[in-house]
Symmetry: C2
């Protein structure tokens, strides 16, 4: 790829002025960058995005920062300096989207509230991402992913009963908010093509957690009972769980009558098909612990590889529980170009997750441009502004 040239995609031609830091906002703008948008990362001096200091490091550079900010441009802007404010306003005039994830009110205090922005730049789409949103009694509260996961309910349904509460190992509070925001921004851009008007999008991490509770919320709404954690099993389909084998664990999902019978035969346990305790899915779910014990007594006789191969051949949905090494070496993951590389001038080749949105009319290249150093793109950006003026 040529230097200074972004990915080609459905958002080619769109410029995003990105004041967001750490994860939720940068994840959102990374997704948009993968779809072809130009992302100008406006960072606050002297240190810029906090996540530049987050480990692990490669040759002194944050691998975390590099993966989330590949292909973006960086310029330092101090919104308290009049000269810099002018520059910021020029950038706004040349941008299609402004993204930020400050505490609500931060940008407004600097004079950039939505009403003023909309009056000055009527076509600008403004996406504000925050822990609790720009309205409501908790709007001002500080938020981290762990706080949002805790308050949003997902921790109450994750983990094993009797254990302390368990956090989802990936920052789902940030990531789902980033994804709802990327959807909202693209929809707002489509609306702008038709109406000529931008809009403000206000996304709260807590709201997004409520939006992903799916069957837990349906259960509570229907039955008035708060569901608890179930380890790895399905609340109403059995067998659908993690099972111990001779050398580890695997998952098996064989909920319907047909698949259950096939599973029993494949395990050489035909008698389980006619076992009264397991005669239908409801009974299997009521007696799930007993069924698990029966299954594991056979599964423990061989290792994962044996069972994955055998069950896979019979078309019984199952899978290994991959650690990162397993995931990144999976032939399917590699065939789908889900590991891409950027060549960083200091850190060398950096591997990172690719773009899961595969499009028929755009390439999915195996390389990305690296993440920018702090303020690295200032001159290019100033030159471009001068040319436009």
């Amino acid at each position: 790829m040529k230097k200074g040239k972004g990915m080609q995609g459905p958002l080619s031609g769109i410029t995003i002025l990105d004041m967001s830091r750490v994860l939720a906002g940068p994840f959102c703008t990374m997704v948009l960058s993968e779809l072809g948008a130009r992302v100008i990362k406006a960072e606050i001096p002297p240190a810029g995005d906090d996540s530049r200091q987050f480990g692990p490091f490669v040759e002194g550079k944050s691998a975390y920062f590099m993966s989330l900010n590949r292909g973006k441009e960086s310029i330092c802007i101090d919104l308290k300096e009049p000269g810099e404010r002018k520059l910021f306003e020029k950038l706004l005039a040349g941008s299609d989207v402004l993204v930020e994830n400050f505490r609500p009110g931060t940008l407004a205090k600097l004079g950039y509230d939505w009403e003023s922005l909309h009056a000055a730049y009527p076509r600008l789409v403004y996406a504000a991402l925050s822990g609790f949103g720009h309205t409501g009694p908790k709007s001002d509260m500080p938020a981290y992913d762990l706080v949002i996961q805790a308050m949003g309910g997902i921790m109450s349904i994750t983990g094993y009963p009797g254990n302390p509460p368990t956090r989802v190992g990936s920052s789902m509070g940030d990531i789902t908010a980033g994804l709802f925001t990327s959807t909202g921004i693209c929809a707002a851009l489509r609306h702008r093509e038709i109406s000529g008007q931008g809009m403000m999008i206000d996304v709260s991490m807590l709201d997004c957690q409520v939006a992903i509770l799916e069957n837990a919320i349906a259960r509570y709404a229907a039955e008035g009972i708060s569901p608890g954690p179930l380890g790895a099993r399905h609340p109403s389909i059995t067998p659908f769980d993690v099972y111990a084998t001779g050398d580890g664990y695997m998952v098996i999902c064989a909920g319907n009558q047909n698949l259950f019978a096939k599973l029993c035969r494949t395990l050489g346990r035909d008698e389980l098909i006619k076992d009264k305790r397991f005669a239908n899915n409801d009974l299997r779910t009521s007696n799930q612990a007993a069924l698990k014990q029966e299954m594991e007594s056979t599964l423990r006789s061989q290792g994962n590889a044996h069972w994955l191969d055998l069950l896979g051949q019979k078309g019984i949905p199952c899978g290994p529980i991959n650690n990162l090494e397993g995931v990144l070496n999976d032939p399917q993951v590699n065939a789908r170009n889900m590991l891409v590389e950027a060549l960083d001038p200091t850190a060398g080749k950096v591997r990172m997750a690719g773009n899961p949105i595969k499009m028929s009319c755009f390439e999915d290249p195996p390389e990305r441009r690296p993440a920018p150093d702090l303020d690295q793109s200032r001159q290019d950006i100033l030159d471009l502004l001068r040319k436009k003026a």
Copy 2:
């Protein structure tokens, strides 16, 4: 809201022909419906979407189905019947987007491969969602959320060390795929406004899991070591974990020096600030178990309410670990209209999660139209097609 009239939003005027079932696809089209798209759910007779049979039930109707399909229209279409194929093709001609989550190849076998679709309907956006994607050696494998969570790595970093593998309690395999697809569809619609051409979007649930591994993938790429589960704590920031109080658990995130000192003072444990074991974040992380013990010895003296109030007043990021009842009664969640209602003619008032994408130029009404019964909208849809012809 008037019958037959969808939500107003940035996608108003867009029609989605939705052949998807269960969760990933219906979640995606629900998000688009909340943004104003009209969603016509084309269901396969005789039973339609499998999730119509998924509990819990209210007056015989699935609460799960009703929440995911609110505001959509339903028509039964048997693609093996010539007459129905003609109807399907008329619907395609009148639609902007086709969404499906069949096993790859299913629609192509029926004559509706991408090349044929694109030739016949050049402006159509076709989104195919599947477990493993339309390419690669595992493309044909059957997938459920549990299989995808297991193979995609998130289970290897979720849960407590030494426990059996833990599934994220909400179906993140389906939901993240739904969200990446909704982003891709909106971006493709923007591209179509400019180019006049539709495109195919091929989204794999497994790819999406790779795309959300964030700091785990950065760690593996940088250090070559697969990270394991950490319960609820942060790998490199301390204190940042779940802590036991007198009557339960709460989360506290006080990673930087300033917040840590404030926390110690608030707990009346000033001596911890000068304790050599906890002198900086790295030391606190190395000695996290000892620090947790010290903190909990104080936290256990009072209940959650006491500590949440006290720490909250001091601006120390913290929060309760809400179960569903707690989430749905949170004043912030309610102030943000994150619980909406649909009036189902059989089941009565059904409560469900609202739309987390709040937009300045569109209303966020507290009611939704109910989900359709199977084939309920046939006559309306046929009438509309006749009018158009």
